[in-house]
Symmetry: C2
Subunit: 312 residues, 2 copies
């Protein structure tokens, strides 16, 4: 991670590190990269990993690849499903506060940890947030939901928005500014995403979404640039100071975050919210920087939720 | 336009200029920026503008703003609708080969030039293409449709794709590579955009879309990066060499092109295709560079369509 180009995610990692080391269950880490990902976050003094998977297989991979597991505890379970359920149990026991994906498929992982049996469900819908550190932009940009909810209905979008607000707060943004993105600024029944944005904004006005300054529908330019909003004659408290971008659907979100990674040299940190513990999803194409930033984000989320539970 | 950062759109402008000056009807240019936009493209030796609008009003604006119209012909018509129809007539008479938006609303313009009365409709659906010059990427990226078709059905997406292929060919890319974007690579009925992409790919295989190498559904990373596709184990002729990105819907397209402009320092050139003459849409927030690049693109499209008509 270049400290200069990516100072914002660097600060996120520093903040998470300052808050202490978070016990983390790593679910089915049966590949070199899964093990290295967990150990990288441990070396960065973010997490204390607890590997949950088939002990012999994990130890063989470690030996073959020259990975030192001597000080890393392993919970021996046979398969991915059992690993997910055992990890959930560790959360209930207070022995893990963050879950991290190993080498199983994301679908498999989510089916496990979001099952009723795992007991990690909350009243909030499960959703995903990416936190983007874009070198050309002064603020971190939170994008939701670009990864988990495929075609979210309005009630789900409400939870996506509320989860994202709480995630931004966990990183230290007290009252995040939220843009409900569409391709236009005036609700039109030709574009359902603009109607949903208007409805979500209304829910925020009525107190069904709290903690953020929420506006929409907004086109991307008017969210990201005060100048663009000015030229368009739009008065919105969000313009140029947006923290959270709620995307119209998973395609737009997926394309947006990948465009920022591949064409704007951005670092993406990702976390799944809405369960009793945040879940770090990683993909094979992730860079080391993005893995570390994701772990830091999850640690901050876990810490904020502990603090709020203690208060509540 | 910085020649170094934006060498690709610079080359586009040079190519258009080398092909000669294109007679262009500027529809209802009743603002300073509309007049300056037209004159800027004329100064760049791309177009010969023919202003279509209320003569007295146009001349007053020019005098007030110190704009010299002494050598620019004006077709005197009273209102925006008449301006659109008169511009269409100029196309039929061979006196204009490109249409350029003045200060009327885009909706008003499109209703005019795409009306039956205007007689500019072809068998092809009208659609929009953005050509992006992203400094961090080696190729121009064509994005369709991010501006005109709000919720295109499959047949319309076919035309969007074919129009984009011909537009890329007009700029000199003989066999453009086309990615049909979604958020996943495997068609799933949970994500209709992935099914549409698979259907479009099939149409290309059957010869209903010609002239390009078409693949999809593809996620953005696998279209833009050969390395990402390799890590994912995807074999696609498009990976890392994509020219055209067909977006799942207008929201994704709109967010993508604006993210590239605002966070990747990209220049966007835009043109409407599928009528008997290409239409340059400009918006108030456009930079001078983007206006010039748009005019150049339209000139190249107009030239290619003349050549193909001559051949045909």
């Amino acid at each position: 991670m270049s400290a200069r180009a990516h100072a914002k995610s660097w600060a996120l990692v520093e903040k998470a590190r300052a808050a202490g080391i978070t016990p983390t269950a790593v679910i089915y880490p049966c590949s070199e990269e899964a093990l290295k990902g967990a150990l990288g976050a441990a070396d960065a003094r973010l997490i204390a990993p607890l590997l949950v998977g088939p002990r012999v297989e994990i130890e063989c991979i470690a030996r073959e690849r020259g990975i030192d597991l001597s000080r890393i505890p392993i919970e021996d379970v046979a398969d991915p499903e059992q690993a997910a359920l055992r990890a959930a149990q560790l959360v209930h026991e207070g022995r893990a506060r963050v879950l991290m994906k190993g080498s199983l498929h994301t679908d498999e992982l989510m089916r496990g940890v979001a099952s009723r049996r795992a007991g990690l469900l909350t009243r909030r819908r499960v959703s995903h947030v990416f936190v983007m550190d874009v070198p050309t932009h002064s603020r971190l940009l939170f994008i939701a939901d670009a990864a988990v909810n495929v075609a979210p209905k309005l009630r789900v979008k409400r939870d996506i928005t509320q989860n994202a607000i709480e995630c931004a707060q966990a990183t230290g943004i007290q009252t995040p500014k939220v843009a409900l993105l569409s391709a236009i600024e005036t609700p039109s029944d030709a574009m359902p995403s603009s109607l949903e944005a208007a409805a979500l904004r209304d829910m925020a006005v009525r107190g069904e979404i709290v903690g953020g300054i929420v506006d929409g529908p907004l086109a991307f330019d008017n969210a990201i640039s005060a100048e663009a909003a000015r030229i368009k004659g739009l008065a919105t408290p969000v313009a140029g100071e947006v923290d959270i971008l709620i995307v119209p659907g998973i395609e737009a979100g997926n394309i947006l975050y990948k465009a920022l990674v591949y064409l704007s040299n951005a670092i993406a940190a990702g976390v799944v919210l809405g369960l009793k513990a945040p879940v770090v999803l990683t993909s094979r194409a992730d860079t080391e920087q993005s893995r570390i930033a994701s772990a830091a984000l999850a640690c901050l989320v876990a810490r904020a939720s502990r603090l709020s539970n203690r208060v509540g």
